[in-house]
């Protein structure tokens, strides 16, 4: 460590980065995520072809480096003659879109309910926590599947369903963190100073509960991508011809023994994205929440 007893306390961000960058995997994960995010944002500019363009004379073309392949289609084409690389690049947009929206809904809802449960009288807290127990009693993928069956299969409905099943984790974490903070002196002093309930909840207590919630968000992000892909794979998420990675896998299933590339690359894209986010999540946990630190 190059730290030489600096008299000034480093800014929180610098301090965070110092701890975060101690974990090499986390830094790699971070840069992979940044790259994927850039690819997602710039998809229409980067992708060599239109993801929906069907080149009927070039169906099931193997990847460029395989014999019979064509370098103008680096990762080959699918059964309808669509360029797989272009579809994957556009698919990144869906995955990040799913991740951000699902985590956004689950986190804001879950944190709000968790705060209420933490501050509420005993009976309301009990009611809220029992409702969360009920949601948690169902395996998340199954509950999402059934919810989508009710709402109708589409990407938006899949996202709503996944957000709903991820939400109880936020509620539990927020509530536990609030319970931990409430007896502390600074909360009492804020209360004595006349801070109202809303101010106590959002300004005084919430900022001190954020660390585990941020770590949870990385986990929820990767779960959201995995679950959405699983729903797409089962035909209950994004519908063809959307280039969503799970849906691409579902479309490719019948060709697995004839054309390995149509199956391999979409899954690899999911794995790399989820792995990078999980690596980042481990680093976030080490940096933000020393108590949870994996020795």
């Amino acid at each position: 460590m190059t730290d030489t007893a600096a008299p000034v306390r480093p800014s929180p961000l610098a301090e965070f980065w110092r701890y975060f960058s101690e974990n090499r995997g986390a830094v790699i994960g971070f840069w992979v995520v940044v790259t994927l995010l850039a690819i997602a944002v710039l998809a229409p500019l980067i992708a060599p072809y239109d993801p929906a363009l069907q080149m009927r004379d070039k169906t099931l073309l193997p990847p460029g480096w395989v014999s019979g392949g064509d370098w103008s289609h680096l990762l080959g084409t699918d059964p309808l003659g669509r360029d797989i690389l272009s579809r994957l690049i556009h698919g990144a947009r869906f995955s990040f879109f799913i991740g951000f929206i699902v985590v956004g809904i689950a986190a804001s809802g879950g944190i709000l309910i968790g705060l209420i449960a933490g501050f509420a009288p005993r009976w309301l807290d009990t009611v809220i926590m029992r409702i969360m127990d009920i949601i948690l009693a169902f395996p998340s993928l199954l509950l999402a599947l059934v919810l989508v069956a009710i709402l109708g299969p589409s990407l938006i409905n899949a996202m709503i369903a996944i957000a709903l099943v991820l939400q109880p984790h936020y509620v539990r974490l927020t509530r536990a963190a609030v319970m931990n903070e409430l007896p502390k002196d600074y909360v009492t002093s804020a209360r004595v100073a006349g801070a109202g309930l809303i101010r106590l909840m959002f300004v005084t207590v919430l900022p001190n509960c954020l660390a585990p919630l941020i770590v949870q968000s990385a986990l929820a992000f990767s779960n959201a991508i995995l679950d959405a892909a699983a729903l797409g794979f089962l035909g209950m998420g994004a519908q063809p011809p959307t280039p969503e990675w799970g849906t691409m896998l579902a479309e490719a299933r019948e060709f697995i023994l004839r054309a390995w590339w149509v199956v391999t690359f979409p899954g690899l894209a999911i794995l790399i994205t989820v792995l990078a986010i999980n690596l980042m999540g481990d680093g976030l946990r080490d940096a933000l929440d020393p108590r949870l630190k994996r020795s």
Binding site: R130, I134, L136, L141, L142, A149, L226, F233
Partner: protein, 335 residues
């Protein structure tokens, strides 16, 4: 201990009623008229409609409907499948052994690989083996298992031709289901080759379903072993000159296992969720595939009943794990 049991039961019972309320609500919140939705494109006559309305009790008030539903559930009546016309509970218990067999094999696979891997990683902390192992554990943990299944099929069934792609046993063999567990039934049948065929069919689904639990168990074992290895009594054991094998394998492992056992117990929900994907891909005739098929067939009483049974199973297992944990670790009882 009694306090813990009472406390856990006090949370279990309201949750149970809540779950029944959710599954009860399921058919009623389907958009549109549930009967019309269930009939699908076929449509139905006015008499049949009235008959179905009456059969499902939709002509009564909601509280009465819920009461009837709850009464049925408590007496083991989950309604009739719209497709097969058999009681949902009968179908569930007919298919459940297939899922149970697969889940048990996946869990055994995960435990047999995960615990030694975690222990070795902890003992050789920071070395190449530890790093390689923990990296693979993270990859396993991030794995989209439906893709993993397809890859294994490409390699082992497609290229190497070692394992079959679907089902529980070759169609060559037929014998009555005694226990419902293919491994046991095939042995009981006495037909040569039947057991081998059952094992072959089990290998890939077991690996696929066991991958995520394996990763979780390996990570958990490593971290709890690391914690235990830094305790004083381990130093004492070392000072006494006990062999490393005895220290790591007996002294440390015994205490390091407590959180691992909890993780194993709590992964039942994950396992059942994974079974949905695994069974669908390998055409494994268990609960997961049954649920997915029923959703696509709009066989809503089956979806409703299956959902309730699965939730109930997860709840019971969690309850048992919690109580066992309180039994092993007295500290937790005081909560």
């Amino acid at each position: 201990m009694l306090r813990l049991i009472l406390f856990r039961l006090a949370t279990f019972i309201p949750t149970f009623f809540g779950v029944t309320l959710v599954t009860f609500a399921f058919i009623r919140v389907l958009p549109g008229d549930p009967i019309v939705v269930m009939a699908g494109e076929r449509g139905l006559s006015a008499e049949r409609y009235a008959e179905l309305m009456h059969q499902f009790g939709f002509d009564q008030s909601l509280p009465v409907q819920y009461w009837d539903y709850l009464w049925g559930v408590l007496h083991g009546d989950l309604g009739l499948s719209l497709v097969t016309r058999k009681p949902v509970s009968t179908e569930f218990f007919a298919l459940f052994p297939a899922t149970l067999e697969l889940s048990i094999c996946a869990m055994i696979f995960a435990v047999l690989m995960g615990i030694p891997a975690g222990v070795i990683a902890a003992v050789y902390r920071g070395r190449l083996f530890d790093r390689a192992l923990m990296s693979s554990a993270l990859v396993g943990y991030s794995m989209p298992i439906f893709w993993w299944a397809l890859l294994l099929i490409i390699v082992f069934s497609g290229n190497l031709n070692w394992t079959p792609v679907s089902g529980r046993i070759d169609l060559l063999y037929y014998f009555p289901a005694v226990t419902g567990f293919m491994l046991i039934d095939s042995l009981l049948s006495g037909q040569s080759g039947a057991f081998g065929s059952a094992v072959q069919h089990l290998i890939l689904p077991t690996i696929v379903l066991g991958t995520i639990p394996l990763a979780v168990i390996a990570r958990q074992t490593r971290s709890s072993m690391l914690e235990v290895l830094s305790e004083d009594y381990i130093r004492t054991a070392r000072a006494k000159g006990l062999s490393p094998w005895r220290i790591n394998g007996v002294h440390a492992l015994r205490n390091g296992m407590i959180p691992v056992v909890t993780v194993i117990g709590l992964s039942v929900g994950t396992l059942l969720g994974g079974a949905i994907l695994t069974e669908t891909i390998f055409s494994w005739p268990g609960i997961g595939k049954w649920m997915v098929d029923s959703i696509f067939r709009r066989d809503y009483p089956v979806v409703q009943g299956g959902l309730l049974m699965i939730a109930l199973m997860v709840m019971v297992v969690n309850l048992v794990v919690d109580l066992l944990y309180g039994f092993i670790n007295p500290k937790i009882r005081k909560r």
